[in-house]
């Protein structure tokens, strides 16, 4: 017999028949020795039995049809499948509308020339307005720029010379694209108008004819020759950029 005192919790556990046999025997002995507590606990036990009998009738009633679990499960299955059907219709609808809306404003291909011209436009918008450090390697460092970018692109690349078109090379930088590293060259003229040439190896559209930039906010031309893609972008009117693009292309073909 343990010497643990009998607690109120023990008495309730006794009523609820939750005690281990050993402890139950201890409580029984205690109740015999304390008849006043024994009467109170007996009252609780009677109360428990009475409640159980009174409520047993409810549990014995036949279940109404609304509480038939198979029906509820089946109902949910139907509900879900109709929900999925509705969701699928909605997605198809959104896809259709999205495609229609996007047709004029976004490149339809995310890999070829369309991606390149997007990267060139983005680079122009980020770096051309930069007054402090528009380029990573300055033109004054000469051959170093060409060599570094050729190494990183794993393709020989020549810095286009645009002096005959009135643009000076400012320098260049390496650009991260989702298609790998790209070489960016930046030029300016006497009025501080800037141009950007972006070049990177192409995974698709290895050879693509020159076409004007389809984005409206930056002008330019893109093309691909022998696996290397080029994009020239700037603020001047598109047509005034065409001879410059032709010049870049001609020089690149001599590599």
């Amino acid at each position: 017999m343990s010497n643990r005192p009998i607690t109120e919790d023990d008495l309730h556990a006794y009523v609820d028949q939750l005690l281990e046999p050993e402890r139950r025997a201890e409580v029984t002995a205690y109740l015999e020795a304390h008849p006043d507590v024994g009467r109170r606990v007996a009252g609780f036990s009677d109360q428990r039995a009475l409640l159980r009998s009174a409520l047993a009738l409810i549990a014995d009633e036949p279940l109404p049809a609304e509480l038939n679990l198979s029906r509820i499960i089946e109902g949910r299955r139907r509900h879900l499948s109709s929900w999925w059907a509705a969701a699928a219709m909605l997605l198809i609808g959104i896809g259709g509308i999205g495609g229609w809306v996007a047709r004029g404003s976004m490149p339809m291909s995310s890999n070829g020339l369309a991606a390149l011209e997007q990267e060139a436009a983005d680079s122009f918008k980020v770096y051309a307005p930069d007054r402090l450090r528009p380029v990573e390697v300055r033109a004054s460092e000469g051959m170093q720029l060409e060599q570094w970018l050729s190494n990183r692109l794993k393709q020989p690349i020549k810095v286009p010379d645009l002096t005959t078109s009135g643009y000076r090379l400012m320098g260049g930088r390496l650009i991260a694209t989702s298609h790998g590293p790209a070489a960016m060259f930046m030029y300016d003229d006497n009025r501080d108008d800037r141009l950007v040439v972006l070049a990177r190896p192409m995974a698709v559209e290895l050879d693509a004819p020159m076409k004007p930039q389809s984005r409206s906010d930056v002008a330019g031309f893109s093309w691909a020759d022998g696996g290397m893609g080029y994009s020239l972008v700037g603020r001047p009117a598109t047509e005034s950029l065409r001879p410059i693009a032709n010049e870049v292309r001609k020089q690149a073909q001599t590599i």
Partner: protein, 175 residues
């Protein structure tokens, strides 16, 4: 979903019994159980391993608490006094029926939190720990509500003039 039916179906009468004793209104109680089962079906795969019984009672109890709050706002209160006596089983002997009717009536006079503990422990056979989980309260609170609920119901049963229950030496563990 195949495993759900054999695990949940046998518990529906108990859920119904608990809801009826809590809600006091048979129609509202069955609505509550139906709500509970629908939720159980939709969350069957989200439940943690463990006691399906305690899990179902938790869902049911939370729905009941929401109902209490709403009816408190509306000020509507249907008690067993107002319900038809016939709701408590036709086959039982008249005398017993009256006795059952009487104790359930007295049960409704208990505060909601004490009644919930008393029903889960004494009628639904949940352990004290399971009851604590279902009601989201500490186990010590379960024990004190059980004690107060039993004491109070006993006073009701023995009649308000009878104060024998109050004279006994009360033993409380000092934890």
């Amino acid at each position: 979903m195949k495993d759900m039916l054999p695990q949940v179906e046998p518990l529906i009468p108990a859920l119904r019994r608990y809801a009826r004793a809590l809600m006091r209104n048979p129609t509202a109680a069955d609505d509550l159980v139906q709500d509970c089962l629908e939720r159980a079906v939709s969350r069957w795969y989200q439940r943690r391993e463990g006691n399906t019984r305690a899990w179902l009672f938790t869902i049911l109890h939370n729905l009941a608490v929401n109902q209490f709050r709403q009816s408190a706002v509306r000020g509507r209160h249907v008690t067993i006094d107002e319900t038809n006596e016939e709701d408590f089983g036709q086959e039982a002997l008249q005398e017993k029926k009256l006795m059952y009717w009487d104790v359930l009536n007295k049960l409704t006079r208990l505060p909601d939190d004490q009644r919930a503990v008393l029903l889960l422990v004494a009628v639904e056979d949940l352990s004290y720990a399971e009851t604590a989980k279902v009601l989201n309260i500490p186990i010590g609170t379960v024990m004190s509500r059980l004690s107060r609920g039993r004491e109070r119901l006993q006073q009701e049963i023995e009649g308000p003039s009878d104060d024998a229950g109050r004279n006994v030496v009360k033993l409380r563990s000092l934890k």
